[in-house]
């Protein structure tokens, strides 16, 4: 067979495949079902960080050196979150979801992709303000133990407070946002009372199954990193995790296509915040 010249970007796609294959076979981290465009951006960023001409030059280092592999895994699964990101979404949670959750004697919430804890503690603050924190357990999960530890620590740079305070106000927050934190030099730390209700769990949406039935699943801006097939599989898992009448919150620009055909167990509640609910009644669908 004659060998044909390829454009570099197509060869890079092969390199991305090789990296993902190596991570899966050698370390058990399976990113092969992830959406490729942003995965490639992150990996190409990494090849600049390691100053290699071609991504595949990192292969042997990654296979033989766990520290290099950890850097790659951290880079691929890098969290980005903020307190009260998308204020209006959290306002919907305040007004639509929390009053419904109050009807349960005991509330379990699963928040996926813990980031550095910003969104987890956002939930805790909302529950506190609604007077529901005492009967709530929040399970926050991530595939990466390093991020779970960061989230557990709950410390951030003070400089970020101004933006978060504004988002809090946009979400309809009427309390004193700063009073939920302690200042420690140049950092702020979330108060311990918010940590008590949270369990930090290492969980991989790609391989692990439902671990608990909950009334509220918060999975914002996680599915955008998954390819179609994985996305469908994970959505099914999230729906299974929900008690009937429970809520599912996705990222603002995420959308479940063919909702009725593929996920009859879910109904759309609010398109702007991508809020869904698991239908009550109508047995046999789940």
């Amino acid at each position: 067979m004659p060998l044909v010249k390829w454009k570099n970007h197509n060869i890079e796609d092969v390199e991305v495949d090789l990296m993902l294959c190596a991570l899966k076979l050698r370390y058990g981290y399976d990113f092969t079902g992830y959406a490729r465009a942003s995965m490639k951006r992150r990996l190409m960023e990494l090849s600049r960080y390691f100053d290699v001409k071609h991504l595949s030059e990192l292969l042997s280092a990654m296979l033989y050196d766990e520290a290099v592999a950890q850097t790659v895994i951290n880079c691929i699964s890098v969290p980005t979150s903020e307190f009260f990101r998308d204020g209006l979404v959290w306002e919907t949670v305040r007004t639509c979801v929390l009053p419904q959750l109050d009807s349960f004697p005991w509330i379990n919430i699963w928040q996926i992709g813990c980031g550095r804890g910003e969104e987890t503690y956002t939930l805790a603050i909302l529950l506190h303000e609604a007077g529901l924190l005492k009967k709530t357990r929040i399970f926050t999960s991530d595939i990466n133990p390093a991020f779970l530890q960061d989230a557990r620590d709950g410390c951030w740079s003070r400089r970020r407070m101004a933006g978060w305070r504004e988002s809090y106000l946009n979400s309809g927050g009427r309390g004193n946002f700063d009073s939920y934190f302690e200042v420690r030099g140049e950092e702020v730390a979330i108060r311990d009372e918010f940590k008590k209700v949270i369990e930090f769990i290492q969980h991989n949406l790609v391989e692990d199954d439902v671990f608990k039935e909950v009334q509220f699943v918060v999975c914002r801006n996680v599915l955008i990193y998954f390819g179609d097939v994985l996305q469908g599989k994970v959505l099914k898992l999230l729906a299974r995790s929900l008690e009937r009448g429970g809520f599912l919150l996705l990222g603002r620009a995420e959308k479940i296509f063919e909702l009725h055909e593929k996920y009859p167990e879910l109904e759309g509640i609010d398109d702007a915040s991508q809020l869904y609910r698991k239908v009550i009644g109508r047995g046999g669908h789940v």
Partner: protein, 207 residues
């Protein structure tokens, strides 16, 4: 209009453009309005727009454009299949990417990865991913703006055979962005807004 190099499509490639990507920041809103207004109902390309706008103003742009455009305008959602004749805007605070897809037509993807050139959405991110997906079937347009986002993306569009068009810095309200591109890339056209519109329309005529 300055034609910087001769890449106008020869007959065999003419009319094969499939996607148009447009980026701008400060000073670009009146320009995108004019462009979107001028695109006819049967425009054969999908159009994706990345705009840096002050926080809170992003979502109104989609409404504004939808009110004046002949083509349907919407905010791109994750995994939307890219359809010719539709105008998509990057959602506020997300990067907009084009996913090549090995087995089916290109679609949009979103990410909340950190800002690139201190902005999100970033023009570079859209242009670079669109260039890989569409190569020579892509037209990229960069308008007025006050930072250098888009220059790297435009370089990549050019490298992969797409048509590169930049607003003439002398005609731009904010010339930093067009200048950054011109300094970095030998773009195909440096043009004023009327010329840009007629270039974009000429794509349909050759069909």
């Amino acid at each position: 209009m300055t034609r910087r190099s001769c890449t106008a499509r020869s007959s065999e490639g003419a009319g094969m453009y499939k996607m148009l990507v447009i980026g701008f920041s400060a000073g670009g809103v009146p320009l995108i309005k004019r462009i979107v207004q001028a695109l006819p109902r049967n425009y054969p390309l999908a159009v994706a727009v990345v705009a840096h706008l002050p926080e809170g103003h992003e979502s109104t742009l989609a409404q504004l454009l939808d009110g004046i455009a002949q083509l349907p305008v919407s905010t791109a959602k994750d995994k939307d299949v890219i359809v010719p004749g539709l105008v998509y805007l990057a959602p506020p605070d997300y990067h907009l990417l084009v996913e090549k897809n090995r087995t089916h037509a290109p679609s949009f993807a979103l990410s909340v990865d950190g800002p690139v050139k201190s902005v999100r959405p970033s023009i570079d991110v859209l242009f670079e991913s669109a260039a890989e997906a569409f190569e020579g079937d892509l037209i990229a347009v960069l308008l007025s703006g006050a930072n250098s986002d888009g220059a790297a993306g435009m370089a990549y569009v050019k490298q992969l055979g797409g048509l590169s068009i930049v607003q003439d810095p002398l005609e731009s309200e904010f010339s930093t962005m067009p200048n950054a591109v011109i300094q970095r890339v030998k773009v195909d056209y440096v043009a004023n807004i009327e010329e840009i519109i007629s270039l974009l329309l000429s794509v349909c005529e050759v069909r």
